[in-house]
Symmetry: C2
Subunit: 346 residues, 2 copies
DNA sequence: GTGAAAGCGCTAACAT
DNA sequence: ATGTTAGCGCTTTCAC
């Protein structure tokens, strides 16, 4: 920046520019287009030519520049992902699956993480500049205005494990929040719990609200009152505080439905170590997601599963579905209730 | 693909092409170059012109195409990351930090996950095609050959939390494996444990071996024998099996140093729930990383911390250090021993 | 300060 | 099957 009197044409980089298709073409004695074809799977090129190209390419350590290809094709093969809650293991598993599936489809992931709850507009704007083929929001928020701009630009916006907060028809892939929560309510009642409480995430989280509403729906159907409820963040410290609040109630709830396993685990620890409660017998605790930790002996947590593989499969369909794909599909993937020790009274 | 008789110039995409700088220029009544300048921070452009451009850009919902910019500049502002072990929360914390720091530096993350232990060559090859500015391997392996090609292409390869398996001088950022493990050994001895064992990762993991060697070094210095040792994977199920093997030994070890917290937590559960041992009193257990879970009440695990923030800071220096940066720097970031209940005898 | 023009590395017509 | 040509959307000289 200070001295641009550099002699080379690359004033800012001392790094040598990598070999281009032209270099390979010259070395192989073919046209540059032939090099392009050699690297394009279905292209019409003679075996012998391709071979010569490949040898030359190998010698030069040539790799086609995907940036240039994307520029021409108008498609980047890049999928943008914004992860809102990196503390929840559920999202790692999802990211891993997605990475595997996308790379098989020749697509790549441009990832961002956004601090919990914060608006990810800035990150998303950045992503859009890369002309991503699709944008996946994992538990992250963007403004309604930006969402509308994506719609206007025809950039598929996919909500994962969360629906948009506004009433627009964007695609979403979620677990069976309503069904799962209803099953959980029934299970708690069957096990003889009579004073269930709810420990949830933010009140403006649609996922949270869907779970709560279905839960309450069942209780109401059984003639019960609305359960005590504490809402807050999807994070650990606030969750522990919320658990304390619930456990100090008089009469104390005899069961707590937590809106995610991550919250439920925090609740188990508070109940067990701070209140000396016997999990299952003294208090039933249920989570949602069925993350790996739920089945660990330390927690043995009853949970409604969100099957990552089918959920990712649904995402894949949306991403590579092409133009005639319904970009407003609301996909709900069923899970199943995993009954474990945390809701066993006997 | 079936019918290319499309009238438009875009035969494969029905998605309308986004507005280009040209479109904006026409609307604003300026040259296309002016548009470019309007979006380039330090460029020489009149305030009034920039404003007119911005208004037009806004109207069209224009965003500069970073792909095109990268093509010209020969630098993509993309950093490739391969995560080898997605089950270990340590890497997610690192990813989150990195994402935050990089996006402040105007760079973006192209991420891949590689199944544990597998060779990530394929993923890396892909990454290179995007002309990434640097490549970060988080606990992932690539072949020596590919590493050499990166060197040849002048693509900075950075090993995070692991050194290369071969004797080449690539940059690495690691925790204080030797120092930390030595501290752990001393701590165990101080606490009165006399028959420590080692539960480690793969034998070809340099990280694993550094930790083991330093651990044994201290024990030897105290005149003790080489401890019983089981090596395997950095995963849960094999770790549990390894823990069983160690705990069935006669005489049973009275302490186990696990090469990571993730392994240590699995070991705690086996010891507590399968062998009925009182953690701390009957058996001391130590981990490495000091992940968030280590301080959970359920585990209360003594661990040597790997401070993510300084480690990421070191990575940032390597990534944006530019050309005169030492691309073979071996950076070791000190942590500190967090003594907790899992090694408290009394 | 601004526009015209060249070209980054590649793909996709269009010829042959 | 292959080469030639024309750009993709932008940045960057180079004149003015």
């Amino acid at each position: 920046m200070k001295d641009i009197k550099d002699v080379t044409k690359l004033s800012r980089r001392t790094r040598p520019s990598p070999p281009s298709a032209h270099d390979v073409a010259r070395l192989a004695g073919v046209s540059q287009a032939a090099v392009s074809r050699a690297f394009t799977p279905g292209a019409s090129i003679a075996k012998a030519t391709r071979e010569r190209v490949m040898i030359a390419a190998d010698e030069l350590n040539y790799r086609p520049n995907l940036l240039a290809r994307s520029l021409i094709r108008g498609v980047s093969d890049l999928v943008g992902i914004v992860i809102g809650n990196t503390r929840n293991p559920f999202f790692f598993v999802a990211l891993e699956q997605l990475s595997a599936r996308l790379s098989r489809a020749g697509k790549h992931i441009l990832v961002f993480t956004a601090e919990g709850g914060e608006n990810a507009d800035v990150q998303v704007e950045d992503l859009l500049r890369y002309r991503v083929d699709a944008l996946l929001l994992m538990s992250a928020n963007i403004s309604e205005e930006l969402a509308k701009r994506c719609r206007r630009d025809d950039i598929p916006l996919i909500f994962f494990n969360r629906r948009p907060r506004w009433d627009l028809d964007f695609a979403s892939v979620t677990g069976a929040n309503a069904n799962g929560s209803a099953q959980i309510a029934h299970h708690l009642l069957e096990q003889g719990y009579r004073r269930p409480a709810y420990l949830g995430g933010p009140l403006d989280s649609p996922t949270n609200n869907e779970r709560y509403d279905a839960f309450v729906g069942v209780l109401r159907g059984e003639g019960m009152d609305e359960p005590p409820r504490v809402n807050g963040h999807f994070e650990r410290a606030p969750a522990m505080e919320a658990a304390r609040t619930l456990l100090r109630l008089d009469p104390r709830p005899d069961a707590i439905f937590c809106a995610s396993d991550f919250l439920a685990i925090a609740t188990i620890e508070v109940a067990r170590y701070e209140f000396g409660l016997d999990i299952g017998r003294d208090i039933g605790i249920v989570g949602f997601d069925d993350i790996a930790e739920a089945s660990w002996r330390s927690f043995d947590l009853t949970s409604y599963s969100q099957p990552v593989v089918p959920m990712i499969e649904a995402v894949m369909n949306l991403v590579s579905g092409g133009d005639d794909q319904d970009m407003a599909a609301q996909i709900i993937v069923d899970g199943s209730l995993q009954k474990r020790g945390s809701t066993r009274r006997g």
